[in-house]
């Protein structure tokens, strides 16, 4: 499961290092996309969750459930189409590095179990897309990218306010230890559904 995030970012770093050789980068991009796509049949057919690091519920959790699978498949198909389309164009290694890191980041958004990790990965994908919009460094592209940057970072700050309110309401107390962690270290579908069920059970009894 970690290969879905790790392989594209590694390929992006390789593309960034070999930026001067123009013929290497598309090959690295195609190979990396197919490699992380070939991981998909091994992981999407069963629900699984791992935690990176020896931190218990405080570590970075990745999980696959039925909500994750269509997003992973569609990300793979769209990224493969983008890279196959951009072979004939004259893009340099920087473009392929950004695209590959964006692919790893999108996989990481859909895999993460944690509200705050979702914020961090969405913000990282936004930064990469700002750089991709202003790729040719024209002032018109910079202006469009700046407008998108101001609006989206304001909106993501309100998302952070929402995470704070969720943590304030549910983050403390022992009833969440029964659920399996506190609010910030529990995932979006996982947390909401299981916490709602807990509430209903508590009200019924």
């Amino acid at each position: 499961m970690i290969a879905l995030v790790f392989l594209p970012v590694l390929g992006g770093i390789v593309c960034l290092v070999l930026k001067d050789r123009k013929s290497v980068s598309p090959i690295v991009a195609i190979v990396t996309t197919f490699a992380s796509g070939s991981v998909l049949p091994f992981v999407i057919f069963e629900d699984a969750s791992i935690v990176l690091g020896n931190w218990g519920v405080l570590g970075i959790g990745l999980a696959i459930d039925e909500l994750t699978t269509p997003f992973l498949l569609s990300t793979f198909i769209v990224m493969l189409a983008v890279i196959l389309n951009s072979i004939n164009k004259s893009y340099d290694g920087f473009f392929y590095a950004l695209i590959l890191i964006l692919y790893g980041t999108l996989n990481s958004i859909f895999l993460s179990r944690d509200l705050f990790n979702i914020f961090v990965t969405v913000e990282l994908a936004s930064i990469i897309s700002f750089i991709l919009i202003s790729y040719e460094k024209k002032p018109r592209q910079a202006w469009a990218s700046l407008k998108y940057l101001l609006l989206s970072s304001l909106g993501l700050n309100f998302y952070l306010l929402g995470i704070g309110i969720v943590y304030m309401e549910t983050g403390k107390g022992q009833e969440l230890c029964k659920v399996g962690g506190n609010a910030i270290t529990t995932g979006l579908p996982d947390f909401i559904f299981r916490h709602e069920g807990e509430h209903r059970l508590g009200n019924a009894s």
Partner: protein
């Protein structure tokens, strides 16, 4: 008590920053207002962690006190600070690109120039 007061002040700061982003016409002032919003969010997380007490959560052998601050929001918001710094750098780069071409920071003037270029 202290935490709740800090949270109300931070939400007030967020509203002030949002109104500044909407109403100001200057590009640098917009970016500064975005900085006010992000700093208010950091202040709000400090308030959340101060709700259970304001003693720093460094336990050194003395376990008698129980009113420690909550360490999880403080550990979490450091990532938010780094991300807001990266966004500030990127937006200033875009502002420099625009200023070098058109020699203005006024938003309406830039829009008028782009409309004139399209014709």
């Amino acid at each position: 008590m202290t935490g709740t007061l800090v949270i109300y002040f931070s939400i007030l700061g967020m509203l002030v920053g949002t109104i500044g982003m909407i109403l100001s016409k200057d590009l640098i002032k917009k970016i500064l207002s975005l900085g006010i919003v992000e700093t208010s969010i950091n202040l709000m997380y400090t308030g959340i962690s101060a709700r259970s007490g304001i003693i720093p959560p460094i336990v050194s052998g003395d376990f008698s006190r129980t009113t420690y601050a909550d360490p999880i929001p403080q550990a979490v918001i450091i990532t938010g600070i780094v991300i807001s710094f990266a966004l500030l750098c990127l937006s200033l780069v875009f502002a420099i690109i625009i200023y070098n071409k058109y020699h203005t920071m006024n938003v309406e003037t830039i829009e008028i120039i782009f409309e004139r270029e399209e014709r």
